[in-house]
């Protein structure tokens, strides 16, 4: 299993879907682990009742059907599907409404879905935001999984694991084919009072995490890979370009 994850870390991200299905066919008994640990590009489906879109992922899947957070129905219909308890469903509905607004505020569009389920003694909540950008082809997808464990004294422990997948492609005369894509993952743990409700706590953590990730992405996606290129073949007039870069950074 570790070897499989190692492979996923090295294969070019644009091939990650093909790589995952290859691994699933070679290691069928590890499929549950693989599907939950490997981030895949997100797809959406339209809910038949409300007409709203929802995101397809491991957390709302049962067999080959996906449960919509808007209507709580499986698409395509499933007789024996898994459903969250009534209490969790209430939280789920509220969360979906709130996150839709959050999504609007930050992404000015895009799609978000929240799925909540019970994990033996714990609750797990999952938010997935997807957004298609306007570059030649650019796409940001974020998956946040929070595990909530109630502690004593009206507090709970929240363990957040977030992954952001970003993919950018440009193709023009002067710079040819340029493709930068991949994903990064971060974790955050917090113990918080339940006074204002789970949703509030989880929401704040996710917001903070997304901001951090946005910054990291800038450093990692752009910073590190660009640094590598310049190490391979330093620009010819290093002094001049560095000065220009410095000046333009100060001005922007």
């Amino acid at each position: 299993m570790e070897a499989a994850m190692g492979l996923m870390r090295r294969i070019p991200p644009k091939h990650s879907e093909a790589a995952l299905s290859a691994l699933l066919s070679l290691l069928p008994h590890h499929s549950a682990d693989l599907l939950s640990q490997v981030d895949q590009p997100l797809q959406v489906l339209r809910d038949v009742d409300s007409g709203k879109e929802f995101i397809l992922c491991e957390y709302n899947r049962d067999a080959d059907s996906y449960r919509s957070p808007w209507s709580n129905k499986y698409h395509p219909p499933l007789d024996d599907g898994l459903y969250p308890s009534q209490e969790l469903r209430k939280l789920e509905v509220e969360a979906n409404n709130v996150f839709m607004v959050y999504c609007d505020q930050y992404y000015e569009g895009g799609t978000s879905s929240v799925y909540i389920w019970e994990n033996e003694d714990e609750d797990g909540s999952r938010t997935a935001d997807g957004r298609r950008g306007y570059l030649e082809e650019g796409c940001w997808e974020a998956i946040h999984v929070i595990e909530v464990v109630p502690l004593e004294e009206a507090t709970a422990r929240y363990c957040l694991t977030s992954s952001v997948m970003l993919s950018l492609t440009t193709n023009d005369e002067s710079s040819g084919n340029f493709n930068l894509s991949g994903s990064i993952r971060r974790q955050m743990n917090m113990d918080l009072p339940i006074a204002e409700g789970h949703l509030c706590n989880m929401g704040r953590m996710i917001e903070e995490m997304e901001s951090k990730l946005r910054y990291s992405l800038d450093q990692v996606y752009f910073g590190k890979t660009k640094e590598m290129i310049c190490t391979l073949r330093p620009p010819s007039e290093p002094v001049q370009t560095r000065l220009l870069e410095h000046i333009s950074k100060r001005l922007s």
């Binding site: 070897a3 070019p12 839709m100 990064i184 204002e196 509030c200 590190k224 073949r233």
Partner: protein, 304 residues
């Protein structure tokens, strides 16, 4: 894949999968992928079959550089220097290396035969270009390697016929302890057209970078360009062609830099704002204020 009784893929399918993983390894990482692939396959024989096919292809495509056993020089494993599947020519030292692809080493070397080398006429051009390109590469790349091969017309003995040389430049920066690897490959086809007294230069530049600390981010960029110059003496041609190469490679690097400086703003501005329009963090405890605005937006059809 349809649901079948046995969900295990066939041996042939497993070999194909292993080959695919090996071939898609980023620069300098095939041995790591090899190790992981062996663990996932759990079958020595299948792995060995896949490796025997995948490694030569990978090595040639990445133009790996191997030392001669006696340290007399280096040989580049490329499609242009290939004499047979395990033998690669180094024109600089006129030796042929016998190569072990899977272990990525040169086992032994032998002097090249006359038939494997170009004629003195061609060699003049090849040699002159080699000198110029080597000089250029040592200036422009901290750790670059290069070579010049004759891919067409190596038996041409005097002016009157066309021939073609290929310049390959490869630079790799491997830093696994920093979770970062990168590679630059350029292939320049130089066609000498005798009748038109014309030299046509076509280049393919490929850059890759892989960063894998807590994630997997990869850059894959490719660019093609063309240029030409007059057919002159070997030294003058060499100088002219190298100038062309230097010019285009520098241009490409500059345009990559420009792409990098434009993308962050364009991307992030479009994809996710730093803060909502209100310039404050999202009010998780008080979301009622938004539902009214959203309803208005919806009825105006502004929501996507």
């Amino acid at each position: 894949m349809s649901d079948e009784e046995e969900t295990q893929p066939t041996d042939d399918q497993k070999i194909e999968i292993a080959k695919w993983f090996l071939l898609n390894a980023p620069a300098g990482e095939i041995q790591y992928i090899a190790k992981d692939m062996k663990a996932v396959l759990q079958d020595e024989t299948l792995y060995t079959t896949a490796a025997a096919v995948a490694f030569p292809l990978y090595n040639k495509s990445h133009m790996i550089c191997l030392d001669f056993p006696d340290r007399s020089g280096e040989v580049m494993v490329t499609p242009f220097s290939e004499i047979s599947e395990n033998e690669y020519l180094d024109p600089r030292t006129a030796q042929v290396a016998v190569v072990d692809h899977v272990n990525q080493v040169c086992r032994r070397a032998r002097p090249a035969n006359d038939e494997e080398l170009p004629t003195p006429y061609i060699e003049e051009y090849r040699y002159a270009l080699d000198i110029e390109v080597t000089k250029y590469v040592s200036e422009a790349y901290p750790k670059g390697i290069c070579s010049v091969y004759c891919v067409n017309g190596k038996d041409v003995e005097e002016p009157g016929l066309d021939f073609e040389l290929v310049v390959v430049i490869s630079a790799a920066r491997l830093s696994p302890q920093n979770f970062c690897n990168g590679s630059w490959r350029s292939i320049w086809n130089v066609e000498f057209k005798d009748e038109a007294q014309f030299v046509e230069v076509r280049g393919t530049l490929q850059v890759g970078a892989h960063y894998f600390e807590e994630g997997n981010v990869q850059l894959d960029a490719k660019h093609e360009c063309k240029d030409s110059t007059m057919l002159m003496s070997p030294e003058d041609c060499a100088h002219s062609v190298t100038t062309i190469i230097r010019h285009h490679e520098t241009e490409y690097l500059n345009s990559l830099q420009t792409s990098y400086s434009k993308l962050p703003d364009a991307t992030f501005k479009d994809l996710r704002r730093k803060l909502p329009v209100t310039r404050t963090l999202f009010p998780w405890h008080n979301t009622m204020q938004f539902s009214l605005r959203r309803d208005i937006q919806k009825s105006l059809g502004l929501e996507k």
